[in-house]
C-alpha cells in the first residue's frame, strides 16, 4: 500500500501509539482487501457501543484506548444499550449494565466524540456530496451513500473507531467510483408510505443479497415530486438490513420504463409483490401487538414533533403503548424541552426513549409481539430478541387508539 509522508510518520509512531496502532490495522485490513492507499475522511461514525453488543471486552478496549487517543475528525456514535432517560425505560435495567454503559460513553466523550447516541448521524452533520466517510451502522451507510452521495463502506467492529483516531480509512469499495455502478435495476410502484418504501428496500435486499448496487426506479405519475426523506430512509435501512446493500440509487422516471445499466438486469415489481412481501415479513397481526415501536432508524425531531402534536391536539390516550426512539443528542443539548415532553406524554401511553433502540438494548423485556413501521426492526427484532412482529404504518395505531 502506498502511504503519504504523514501516514508513514503515523505508522512509525510519531503521532503516538494509538494512532500507530489504528494506522497499522487500517493498512493491514486494506492490504488484505486489495486497497492501494488510504483516504482522509470527514466524519467517522462508530457502531458497536452498546454494552450488550460489545460486552466487557469492548469496554476494556475502549477504556484503554481512551487513555491516550483523540479523534482527528468529526466523530459520532450509535445508540446505546440503555436509554439516556433511564428512569423512563419500560423494563427495569440492571445497575451494573447502566454503570458500564456510562463508562463506555464517558470514554467516547473523552476521546472527542460528539455526544450523539444515534443511528442517524446525518441529522447531526449531513454529509456533503462525494465526501469520504468511515461509518459503521448499516442504515446510516446506505443513507449516506444513497441520499447524500457521500462515500462509505460498512466499517464493522472497531474499524470506524480506529478510522476516527487515524482520520482516514482504506480506499476500497464504495470509495471508488467504479464500484458504485448498479448491479440490479428494479422497477417498482410508487410507495404510498414508509412501510411500502421499506418493503421496496426489503425486495432490493432479497434481490441483490450481498451485492451492494441497486438502482430503484419510480414512475413519476404516481409520485409527484418524489418520495419523502423519511420514506427514502426507511427504504435504505431495509435494504441495508435484509441485504448488505450500501447504495440504493433512487431515480424517478416519468415513462415508467426502467433502462438497463451496463450488464445489470432489469427486474419489475408490481403492487402485488409488495403485498406478498408484507406477508413474508409479518409474523404477527396488529391486534396481537402489545406496543407500537417507531424510530428505527431514529426519528428526526421534526417528524417526532409532528406525531406528538397530533397526539396532544387530538387528545389521544393509548391503551397499548406507543414507543418512539429519538436521537440521544436531543437530550444532551436539552434545556428541559424534550425531557419535559417525554414525562408529559407518559400518562398518554407514549414512551419516548432517547439514545437507544429496541435492537441494541434490552428495553423490550417481556414483550412478545410488537408492531412497527420499520422493516429494519422487522429483520433484527425476531432474530435478536425472539419477538413476533406486525408491520404497519403508525397511522393504523393512531386510528385504533382514537376509536373508543
Amino acid at each position: 500500500m502506498k502511504l503519504s509522508k504523514v501516514e508513514e510518520r503515523m505508522l512509525a509512531g510519531d503521532y503516538g501509539p494509538a494512532v500507530q496502532k489504528a494506522l497499522e490495522v487500517l493498512v493491514r485490513v486494506g492490504e488484505a482487501l486489495g486497497a492501494s492507499r488510504l483516504v482522509p475522511i470527514a466524519h467517522a461514525h462508530v457502531s458497536g457501543v452498546s454494552y450488550f453488543n460489545i460486552g466487557d471486552e469492548g469496554l476494556e478496549f475502549i477504556e484503554s484506548l481512551s487513555r491516550h487517543a483523540k479523534t482527528r475528525v468529526f466523530a459520532t456514535y450509535n445508540p446505546l444499550g440503555v436509554p439516556l432517560n433511564v428512569d423512563e425505560s419500560p423494563t427495569p435495567l440492571d445497575e451494573d449494565v447502566i454503570s458500564k454503559q456510562r463508562r463506555i460513553v464517558k470514554c467516547l466523550h473523552a476521546m472527542g466524540f460528539k455526544p450523539s447516541a444515534t443511528c442517524a448521524p446525518y441529522l447531526i452533520r449531513p454529509p456533503k456530496r462525494g465526501e469520504h466517510l468511515a461509518w459503521g451502522e448499516s442504515s446510516a451507510v446506505a443513507v449516506a451513500n444513497s441520499l447524500y452521495g457521500a462515500c462509505t463502506n460498512r466499517e464493522g467492529g472497531p474499524l470506524a473507531l480506529l478510522a476516527a483516531i487515524a482520520g482516514r480509512t482504506y480506499y476500497w469499495g464504495m470509495h471508488i467510483k467504479a464500484w458504485r455502478v448498479p448491479s440490479h435495476v428494479m422497477l417498482v410502484p410508487a410507495p404510498q408510505n414508509e412501510v411500502e418504501a421499506g418493503l421496496i428496500g426489503y425486495l432490493a435486499g432479497k434481490l441483490a443479497e450481498r451485492v451492494v448496487r441497486v438502482y430503484v426506479a419510480f414512475s413519476r405519475e404516481a409520485m409527484g415530486n418524489g418520495i419523502p426523506f423519511s420514506s427514502a430512509v426507511h427504504l435504505c435501512a431495509a435494504a441495508g438490513a435484509w441485504g448488505n446493500i450500501a447504495l440504493v440509487d433512487l431515480r424517478l422516471i416519468s415513462g415508467g420504463e426502467a433502462k438497463a445499466v451496463g450488464e445489470a438486469e432489469v427486474v419489475r415489481f408490481e403492487r402485488q409483490d409488495l403485498r406478498s412481501a408484507l406477508d413474508e415479513v409479518s409474523t404477527a397481526d396488529l391486534d396481537e401487538a402489545e406496543v407500537f415501536y417507531a424510530g428505527c432508524p431514529h426519528l428526526p425531531p421534526e417528524e417526532a414533533l409532528r406525531i406528538i402534536e397530533y397526539i396532544l391536539v387530538k387528545g389521544i390516550k393509548f391503551q397499548r403503548e406507543l414507543w418512539l426512539s429519538l436521537p440521544g443528542y436531543l437530550l444532551y443539548e436539552d434545556h428541559g424541552f424534550w425531557s419535559g415532553l417525554a414525562r408529559r406524554l407518559l400518562d398518554r401511553g407514549v414512551r419516548i426513549l432517547f439514545g437507544t433502540c429496541a435492537v441494541v438494548s434490552r428495553i423490550l423485556g417481556g414483550v412478545k409481539v410488537l408492531a412497527t413501521n420499520s422493516l429494519k426492526a422487522a429483520f433484527y427484532l425476531p432474530r435478536l430478541h425472539g419477538v413476533r412482529v406486525a408491520v404497519a404504518p403508525p397511522s393504523s395505531w393512531l386510528r385504533e387508539a382514537r376509536t373508543p
Binding site: K21, E24, V25, R28, V29, E31, A32, L33, S47, G48, N53, I54, G55, D56, E57, G58, E60, F61, G156, G157, P158, L159, L162
Partner: protein
C-alpha cells in the same frame, strides 16, 4: 514422519515454533470460544499453540475477544487461516498475534494436532514448515 511446507499470505508479523490445534469449521470468537481457559467449542485448548482454521464467522466483537485472550495469556501463539476476514485481521493486529492466511482446504486436511510447525510471517509473505508423525 511427514515434512510439509506452506507458502502463505502474511498479515501480522512474527515467528513462532509451536504445536498445532486444527479446527475444521469456521470459528466465531464471540460466543464459541472459552476466554478464561483459551479453549475451542470442542474443549481443545489453543493456548500456546498455532491455531489453524478455515476462517472466521459471526460477530464484529471478535477483535475485542482476541485482545482479551492475549491480555489473559490464553491466546494462541499464532493463527493460520484459510481466509482472513477484516475482523480477524483487526483483532490480530490489536492483540499482536501473528497471522497468515491462504491455507488451502487440502492443507487443512493433512494437518492435525500432532504436528509441530515453524511459522514465519514477514510483510505480505509467510512460510510454515511442519513436521507431522
Amino acid at each position: 514422519m511427514r515434512r510439509l511446507l506452506y507458502h502463505l499470505r502474511g498479515h501480522v508479523d512474527g515467528a513462532v515454533i509451536a504445536p498445532l490445534v486444527v479446527y475444521k469449521s469456521k470459528l466465531s470468537f464471540y460466543g464459541e470460544v472459552n476466554r478464561e481457559a483459551g479453549k475451542l467449542p470442542d474443549g481443545r485448548s489453543f493456548k500456546g499453540r498455532i491455531l489453524v482454521i478455515p476462517g472466521t464467522k459471526g460477530s464484529t466483537v471478535a477483535p475485542y475477544v482476541l485482545l482479551s485472550l492475549s491480555k489473559r495469556g490464553t491466546a494462541p501463539q499464532a493463527i493460520v487461516a484459510g481466509e482472513a476476514e477484516p475482523m480477524l485481521i483487526t483483532g490480530a493486529v490489536l492483540a499482536g498475534i501473528p497471522l497468515a492466511s491462504g491455507l488451502r482446504p487440502a492443507g487443512l486436511e493433512e494437518l492435525d494436532d500432532e504436528c509441530w510447525c515453524h511459522l514465519v510471517v514477514k510483510g505480505a509473505f509467510a512460510r510454515m514448515t511442519c513436521v507431522c508423525p
